[in-house]
Symmetry: C2
């Protein structure tokens, strides 16, 4: 198979960008893989792991020859990153991203595109609590969902190439409108993060007598708060750029919490059991 791209420039060589570089290398998806980074220490790790043909902090150097620009930075850095590369990009470059929020990204990248360029939003739903090129794993996307969110500046040819890219690294690809994506992910991903961070923050200083309550937690506490270890920078970007959908999801959660609290307060065992059983039903449906 010939390479899908002459050159992919990956902006942000962290867990997602680094894993894609390794997977693209393994599956011969590009003749040349360039990485644009902010930290020299992280770029050195990427270089040492052999994932890049060129690792640079210079956006102009990274832009030259980029048939595909993959934005894998924190969400709010994407528009400024693309703007900094803009003058040196091929006039027909394809721009894509790996952000967890899609409408904001599309709205803010479209104004940065040259006339001949295409934009295809994408969201690989794959993550770990670990970050950086050191955590990159060429198998990260195998059997994971990648949602492609076509929009006004997506050409059919560009969509097809991006879908091919993700399929070739093992992902299960589907398409969705950007606003629908943001609503669904606000429930399936952003709400669990808020809940885990809230629980962990509430327990951080929960002291009963001289005992820190969290020290008496077992595996259940560990599972329920695992997401709270995630990067605050990354999540701040998601909370700000998907604000309305997240507020809606939080309101739905809070309505159930209030109902549960009032059932406990009123010793209403029928309502308590109903909520516990709805939770069990959701778990039973989870793949």
């Amino acid at each position: 198979m010939s390479a899908l791209f002459k050159q992919i420039t990956i902006c942000g060589v962290g867990l997602i960008g680094g894993s894609l570089a390794l997977a693209a290398r393994q599956h011969h998806l590009a003749e040349k893989i360039v990485g644009l980074g902010r930290s020299e220490a992280n770029l050195k790790i990427a270089r040492d792991r052999g994932m890049l043909d060129l690792a640079t902090r210079d956006p102009i150097a990274a832009a030259h020859g980029a048939e595909l620009v993959m934005l894998a930075t924190p969400i709010r850095l994407m528009p400024v990153t693309l703007r900094a590369m803009r003058e040196a990009l091929p006039h027909n470059a394809i721009v894509t991203d790996a952000g967890s929020v899609k409408q904001w990204v599309i709205d803010h990248l479209e104004p940065e595109l040259g006339a001949g360029m295409a934009l295809v939003g994408a969201h690989p739903i794959a993550g770990k609590e670990t970050t950086g090129a050191a955590a990159a794993d060429p198998a990260l996307f195998v059997d994971q969902r990648v949602i492609i969110t076509p929009s006004a500046r997506s050409t059919p040819a560009a969509i097809e190439k991006i879908e091919m890219l993700w399929r070739r690294v093992g992902a299960r690809v589907s398409r969705m409108a950007p606003d629908l994506h943001d609503l669904i992910l606000s429930r399936a991903s952003h709400l669990p993060q808020i809940v885990a961070s809230t629980l962990a923050a509430a327990l951080n200083n929960a002291q009963i007598g001289s005992e820190p309550a969290a020290a008496y937690g077992a595996g259940g506490l560990r599972d329920t708060t695992r997401l709270a270890a995630s990067s605050a920078d990354m999540w701040l970007d998601i909370l700000v750029t998907n604000r309305e959908a997240i507020l809606g999801a939080a309101a739905e959660f809070r309505a159930v919490l209030d109902e549960f609290g009032s059932a406990i307060d009123n010793r209403d065992e029928v309502r308590m059991r109903a909520i516990l059983e709805q939770g069990r039903a959701m778990r039973a449906k989870l793949p």
Copy 2:
């Protein structure tokens, strides 16, 4: 080593009771192990796994010769179980339990004790989402915490024997006042259960367009809702018998949730980051 007890009667041969039976067998803690159960099917599993010398549904038959009565039933069944055994118990039997709530259990078991009997509350903090004798595991308690909650009817000799029992099956034993235990566990264990069940229940019917939102969750959603798969019966008992402490814990959680929601609504990134970082700090302290 001679056996610690001539006979242990375990009431409730589920995950905890069955695991203790297997561990007691393995470490020669009793000359005879009797199991009292409600379901013939479950008792058959216990018999087939060789964990009991006698498996019965008859509380009188189970009571005869019980030097130690271990109540490992759902919490609200403990007083009625002890009452049903009472007339056939040795006059100096030691009663203990494995419930997740301690003050309620002690308050409701004390009136059922004969004059020469002793009561030592205990809580092995070990669990899985699986239940029944089939899930029993002799290593379940190894390196897990067991909290002993001495109270008015605990004699020093009985406390020592119960602590020895748990140490011999590998647990890390500590002592705590019953009310302090209930406050700490309401934060470390009961609150995570409420949060996980609430999240799962809220997502159970969350439909965006024609898509069930939860189907797009990844490992983070799975972790955060894992506890929601637990037995509703068991949790209903905990919610009812530790009501006040749990309402307090839920109020603390809700205060942080409201603060988080208001920070997102007001685009207050300083407050959002503070909560995310408090959550990270809690995780970093978790053993």
